[in-house]
């Protein structure tokens, strides 16, 4: 199956045209990990190719090789069939390869036009930046992608969706022939995603070759013409999207059948563990009150900005509330810091894994034992053997994939980083675990694993709060759902009320019938 990397002979399922950009037999090794072994990828003009794979399959590495950030250890890069190399990112840009990343680095204090042309601004007399030409070009680019943004505004005045459009305009500001889109819809709303699809269609019509990376199958089938599947750094298959089904792709991705169904649970709530009343903050949220019982999964749904994460972080002791009470097992507690929260058995798995969840430059075992060090030693001295034992116990429970427990967390894929964060908190033997968007940016295989694990934990009597913006996840996992809107509880739903439309109506504040 892996032996199909002969020279590119046009075959039935290949467009007759030559690939604008191709990788052949590419290998890339990092210390302890073979990120890519002998993979190939062809990007044809006027064609959208979806790159599919679990986190850790090698997608990001391929993007970095295509954009000249990494150098392959072996194999060739072909531009219009001619072997070349991208020793520096500028070389890739020079060949018309551009990328729109998940989180593009933009500069808040600069204008929209300056952001778009940073590093390659049009020059006028004496090599100075020709601001007039730059603004005009920026306006043309923004018009081209249907964005109603004034190029002279400062970036910080724009909303998140418009910032994303600026990032797209920036990517298109070089004369691009190949456009790489790395999970471009992750931060966008439904309407903005539709607009992005139109943009992709436009780019396709202009004859650009597009590499589209996504975890969402609906958009892959909507937008892509061809697919390439990676697993564990190997090329598993490629071809025309019309020839495959979603199930085929999932099977190629994970190498096994994965039930898209959520784990079946028989909820058996016990005593009340956590009771929150009148919980308020001057600006972020107000009058939050609810109870949580052992063995229960309580979902928190709401639109972005509804104050869910802010409330959870306050409950975890990051910010102080202005009013309200918290009881654990019927006894009032005053949580002034995360350390207090952990001592009282409340732990929080944040949405922002890289900054808040894990310490990326420390080894896996040190991340896992960090909150448990006091319990492990008692006298304040480290006990390395006990640390490895604890880390091993919880990484095995979560089926972590890593070269060694001494590996830095930053070297792991998103799904495995999330497992480290969850392992860290389970090792403290908490009463209540708060999971903030637990499967965001996590591939489908790890996603199901996280869901199964949540169900298992609930069955063992842990009380779980899950903040999620994915309706299927909220409905599939929660016993009860609290919907938040503008910092307040809009509704608490259970049983037959748990319905997608009901959730959306409460979250958006639409009264009456479905809109």
């Amino acid at each position: 199956m892996l032996k199909q990397m002969e020279p590119p002979v046009p075959s039935e399922d290949r467009p007759a045209t030559q690939a604008a950009l191709a990788l052949h037999g590419i290998t890339k090794t990092f210390p302890g990990v073979k990120a890519l072994s002998d993979v190939s990828l062809d990007l044809y003009p006027g064609t959208v190719t979806a790159l599919i794979g679990e986190n850790g399959a090698g997608k990001s590495t391929v993007v970095k090789i295509l954009t000249g950030i990494y150098q392959p250890d072996g194999g060739t890069i072909l531009v219009d069939g001619k072997p070349t190399s991208f020793p520096v990112p500028q070389a890739a840009a020079g060949h018309g390869v551009t990328a729109i990343h998940q989180e593009t680095v933009l500069f808040d204090e600069l204008s929209v036009a300056e952001n778009i042309f940073l590093g390659h601004a049009p020059r006028g007399a004496f090599g100075l930046i020709d601001r007039k030409a730059m603004t005009a070009k920026a306006r043309a680019l923004l018009d081209g992608i249907g964005a109603q943004i004034d190029p002279e505004h400062k970036l910080k005045d724009l909303g998140i969706a418009n910032k994303h459009l600026v990032a797209i305009a920036r990517a298109l500001s070089i004369d691009a022939r190949v456009v790489i889109m790395d999970e471009p819809t992750a931060a966008l709303s439904h309407k903005e995603i539709e607009e992005l699809y139109e943009l992709v269609e436009d780019l396709k019509a202009q004859g650009k070759a597009i590499l589209f990376i996504s975890h969402k199958f609906d958009e892959i089938f909507r937008i892509a013409d061809r697919y390439t599947v990676f697993r564990d750094g190997h090329l598993i298959g490629n071809g025309t999207i019309a020839d495959v089904t979603e199930a085929d792709l999932v099977k190629m991705m994970v190498g096994r059948d994965v039930s898209q169904i959520f784990p079946k649970r028989t909820p058996d709530p016990g005593d009340t563990v956590l009771k929150v009343a009148g919980y308020a903050h001057p600006t972020e949220f107000d009058d939050i009150g609810f109870e949580l019982r052992t063995g229960e999964i309580l979902g928190f749904y709401g639109l972005v900005g509804a104050g869910r994460s802010e409330f959870m972080q306050s409950l975890f002791g990051i910010t102080r509330p202005s009013a309200g009470s918290v009881e654990i097992d019927g006894r009032p507690v005053d949580i002034k810091s995360p350390a207090d929260a952990v001592e009282n058995g409340i732990v929080y798995v944040p949405e922002d894994r890289g900054q808040q969840g894990a310490i990326l430059d420390l080894p896996i075992f040190q991340n896992i034992t960090l909150p448990s060090l006091g319990r492990l030693s008692g006298n304040g001295f480290l006990r390395l053997a006990e640390e490895f034992k604890l880390a091993r116990e919880y990484t095995e429970r979560l089926d972590l994939r890593a070269a060694s427990l001494d590996t830095h967390v930053g070297h792991l894929s998103g799904g495995n980083q999330q497992k480290v964060v969850i392992a860290k908190w389970l090792a403290t033997q908490p009463r209540v675990i708060i999971l903030d968007e637990p499967t965001k940016g996590v591939d489908i295989g790890s996603k199901a694993a996280v869901h199964d694990f949540m169900a298992e934990l609930a069955a063992q009597g842990l009380a779980i709060i899950m903040v999620s913006s994915e309706i299927p996840e909220v409905l599939g996992m929660s016993d009860r759902v609290i919907v938040m809107r503008e910092g307040r509880i809009a509704a608490e739903l259970a049983g037959p009320d748990l319905h997608p439309e009901t959730l959306v109506r409460h979250a958006a504040g639409i009264s009456g019938g479905p809109s």
Binding site: P338, A341, L360, P371, T407
Partner: protein, 328 residues
Amino acid sequence: MSATDRMIPDRLRSPLEQRLKSWETLLLAVAIAIFVANSFASPYFLNAWNLSDATFNFTEKAMIAFAMALLIISGEIDLSVASIIALASTAMGAAVQIGVGTPGLLLIGLSVGLLCGAFNGVLVTRFGLPSIVVTIGTMSLFRGISFIVLGDQSYKGYPASFSWFGQGYVWWVISFEFVLFAIIALLYGVLLHKTNFGRAVYAIGNNPTGALFSGIRVQRIKFILFLLTGLMSGIAAICLTARLGSTRPSIATGWELEVVTMVVLGGVSILGGSGTIVGVVIAAFVMGLVTFGLGLLNVPGIVMSIVIGALLIGVIALPRLWSMGRSR
């Protein structure tokens, strides 16, 4: 789904292998090279008493450097250490004038150090001010007080029993200061590398937000680190004052940068998050040997600071040039 049969190893490289490839090994090689070069350059170098004298070039600074190493690893810095020495020394000198004895002087030196450290610590951890700004301010403030009290005068008349802390020998050529340096090095080595506290210091330096979200009491630990740096400055003030036998407001001028140089030369990242006490110990010897060797050759002081500066840049640039050369 479960794959408990696939064991993840604890480590891929043994701790010994990691140590051999470390910064500290490189630095030790540099130290040995300087030692050998010195013994060829001057016939007076390989003399027990001369070598013993050489240790005074670094013992006091190194005591502060150990605490500073922890502070820098945690992502903070204290540039007021030399000014704390001036203030503590001034306080002890003033106490001598009203007849305070040696135990009282020691107590005053340590207390002033702790108080100054606490002042820095409160400003940084309570009010959230950047430590580099706070300690540049207190650097002027603390020494400024010394200047107001002393003007162009100096305090003298320290009791003989006090002088022992800077001039005394424990056994043969082994000075009290050197023994104190060794004990403090050991204590800080254990604190940083063998305790939960030390692990938290690394975690904070790598990612303060992540450490906070992991239940680490970040501000409390930083406050303790400022206290420790103040305390070590107080101890250094005692040793230095006892050795010199007098206090002027200009005492220990410029030491803050020498201390930071020692820490960085020892392989502590100025950005925080990594470094070892062993590295700082070797860096202390390197700086002491260079200064002493050049002194024997009658090289003027200004040339010495040029050599130390070049050494710092050279030793830091070398590994980077090496890895750049290999990746080509």
